[in-house]
Symmetry: C2
DNA sequence: ATTGACCTTCCAGTTGGTGGAACCTCTATC
DNA sequence: GATAGAGGTTCCACCAACTGGAAGGTCAAT
């Protein structure tokens, strides 16, 4: 199968598929004309990757998940470990964003948003006199 | 003031300060020895940038906020607009992550995490037979 | 004179692709 | 056989926002 068909089937752009080959995630064969020739298992892998990426797993996580996926002797503990780590990272990210959101929403709320220059948002961003001790 | 002192005062790494000069966010003077010489307003700006970045504003947002900050003829509407756009982007990001989190938490929960190979996480990532029509 | 803490520039790498240029191949049509 | 168009190929550059490191200059103190 050529890359265009694979792109359609896996839902990944052809560029991305070539990139995944570059970094060793898939190893399609080559036809006599130099075109990549994908087997069903390649397409299968790519679909797996697309789904894992959609869940936010890093490429390195994907690489490891793929390895486990293809290893009959894996343990579910190994898989779970990767997923739990990722879950923790997501939770942390959500916490960060939620805090930003709270501060920002507060400031936006306090800002009149009119023609005058006074703005609580800028006032908050501006360093307070005590934060930066002056000296040359 | 030399970059080391500025780094300490602004809370930004020296590397980052140099980078901010590179991309035109600050324009410190130079001493005879070639060292960067920061005025109080440079330090002020850098602290502003640090705070804006901590709230997740992009560098381009920061550039615009800084411009408004230094413009006596700004309107709070302009500032508010930037902040609201950013808030929207944050909300969208939180929504994405929250959805990922839900799926992932569900899968992690369903996974025994023991020595056996059966794993609902991998099962979910694997393409279902109907998703990929086979053909060579 | 030398040590060590600063400072300088420049180049490369990070993450996960994306866009474009220049060029080759295949199929269909005239 | 020529040609057009839709595929494919490689390679290089770029995005954000830094960060690490190498090679070297400067300064203050011993």
């Amino acid at each position: 199968m050529n890359i265009g068909d694979v792109a359609e089937r896996s839902g990944l752009p052809a560029k991305t598929i070539r990139y995944y080959e570059d970094i060793g995630l898939v190893k399609p064969l080559r036809s006599a004309n130099g075109y990549r020739s994908f087997r069903n298992r390649d397409v299968h892998k790519l679909a797996f990757l697309g789904r894992a990426r959609a869940l936010g797993f890093s490429i390195e996580d994907c690489r490891n998940l793929l390895k486990l996926y293809e290893d009959d002797h894996r343990t579910s503990a190994e898989v779970k470990h990767i997923a739990e780590d990722h879950l923790d990272r997501i939770d942390q990210k959500i916490a960060e964003l939620t805090e930003m959101r709270a501060t920002l929403a507060h400031l936006v709320n306090a800002c009149a948003g009119d023609h005058r220059p006074d703005c609580p948002i800028l006032a908050d961003l501006a360093p307070k006199p005590n934060e930066i001790s002056s000296a040359e």
